[in-house]
């Protein structure tokens, strides 16, 4: 049976992991390579690394980090942030990533998804959607949540899946950073309109939140950042809990 995935996310700014890091047993907690190794050994099912500022001048630092992380982890590895072209994707994959996550540029130029899927295969193209609830629907935002697009999140997810995206990384902007639980309603709606896996993100605060996003939200995977970095929740314990609730989880 296909297991639900637990995915820690490293938000990297200028070569350092940011967002509530509180590790005691790691010498350099801001070092993405050290953290990646730690999560690999903790039983994470996958790792996502996002270049949150995605500044051009630091692109080479980013590729170095991708290369170093890839050497140390033996689980799937997704990299995103500021990807604009087929060439950007190629460089990230060559540096050792298994998948890339595309957000803003996919909205600006949906053909990028199709072209990327044709060139590298859908399995390595993850479409990231940042969605915010407005009245009774969800709108897509880009540029790190700063710019509205007037796109409906459900329509966009459906369109992107048809265009060739292999997975959707869905972040609820309303829940992100609140630790009040995932937006299960949003996740369930997106999951039911696409035939590709949906990774839920934004709002995880307790073990129960993960359980609910899998059962109510129908998510295929759940992502969290500071919750894991702060050690408020440990992946091993979380997985034990989910197994006890009869969720299919890799041991």
């Amino acid at each position: 049976m296909l297991a639900k995935r637990i995915i820690p996310c490293l938000d990297v700014d200028n070569g350092r992991v940011v967002k509530g890091i509180n590790f005691v047993n790691i010498k350099d907690a801001g070092n993405p390579v050290e953290l990646a190794k730690f999560y690999n050994s903790e039983g994470a099912d996958e790792l996502v690394l996002l270049d949150i500022t995605a500044s051009f001048e630091n692109r080479s630092i980013m590729l170095d980090i991708v290369h170093e992380v890839a050497k140390q982890i033996f689980i799937p590895f997704t990299v995103g942030g500021g990807i604009k072209s087929i060439n950007d994707i190629k460089n990230i994959l060559l540096a050792g990533a298994d998948k890339v996550s595309i957000n803003t540029q996919a909205v600006n130029n949906p053909k990028l998804i199709t072209e990327a899927a044709k060139t590298f295969g859908s399995q390595c193209i993850v479409l990231a959607i940042d969605a915010k609830k407005i009245d009774n629907s969800w709108e897509v935002f880009v540029n790190g949540g700063r710019t509205s697009t007037n796109l409906d999140a459900l329509d966009w997810a459906e369109k992107a899946a048809k265009a060739g995206a292999g997975e959707i990384l869905l972040t609820s902007m309303d829940r992100d950073g609140t630790q009040n639980g995932y937006d299960n309603e949003l996740v369930e709606k997106i999951s039911s309109v696409v035939n590709i896996p949906v990774i839920a993100s934004g709002g995880a605060g307790t073990m129960k939140d993960f359980l609910e996003v899998f059962t109510e939200g129908k998510a295929d995977a759940a992502l969290a950042a500071s919750l894991f970095h702060s050690r408020k929740l440990e992946i091993r314990n979380l997985k034990k809990y989910l197994r006890s609730k009869k969720i299919a989880i890799r041991n």
Binding site: M1, A70, D98, P197, R250
Partner: protein, 200 residues
């Protein structure tokens, strides 16, 4: 030295990284000489069967692989690399290497295709290849198609995704894994180690 056959598909670096971690010497190459000198071959691959076969043929690697296999050189096919060992793939109705009799078919019963994620492998045969690997271990899969060998005796691991399929095959020195051992954590690495120790 193990040669990871380079035919322009897949994340070859991740296999190299895994073998490096295990201290197993390897090289990525498409050179007939290197392939001949290698103690074993890995046929990797992510992507479409048609493009895979086209690339192999363009470089003349299809014939070289068949020749090396005749001389009993160990071969590990991973993901698409396993599927290409069979006669024909439904993915574009492509003729493959035909080392094993059987077809490569598309998943039909599950809604979400490709299968992306960790799934169990039920070990149907006890052998050194599986040393230290518990039954029903999770491995990382990314596939829309699966192998259906005519000779069931080569199936040593099965997995369920809507339908039951052969996730590990072995005949003599030839092994196929539908999942990615190089991306399947410690037990994936263990399988690569076992391939190196028990078969190479």
């Amino acid at each position: 030295m193990i040669v990871i056959i380079d035919y322009g598909l897949g994340n070859l670096a991740s296999i190299t990284n895994a073998l490096n971690k295990l201290g197993i010497k390897s090289r990525i190459s498409d050179s007939p000489d290197m392939i001949k000198k290698a103690k074993a071959l890995i046929l990797p691959g992510v992507g479409a069967a048609g493009e895979g076969m086209r690339n192999l043929k363009k470089k003349g690697l299809d014939k070289i692989i068949l020749r090396e296999i005749k001389e009993e050189k160990p071969l590990l096919g991973i993901c698409l690399g396993m599927q290409l060992l069979f006669e024909k793939s439904e993915e574009g109705e492509v003729d493959c290497l035909g080392i094993f009799k059987g077809m490569v078919r598309k998943f039909k019963k599950e809604r979400k295709i490709p299968q992306i994620g960790w799934n169990n492998v039920m070990l149907t045969d006890k052998q050194k290849l599986f040393q230290g690997v518990p039954n029903t271990t999770f491995f990382y899969f990314v596939n829309s198609y699966y192998c259906q060998p005519s000779d069931k005796s080569i199936v040593v691991g099965v997995t369920e995704y809507g339908e039951r399929f052969a996730s590990v095959i072995r005949k003599g020195n030839i092994v196929g894994m539908q999942f990615h051992p190089e991306k399947s954590g410690d037990l994936g690495l263990q399988l690569l180690k076992n391939f190196n120790e028990a078969i190479c």
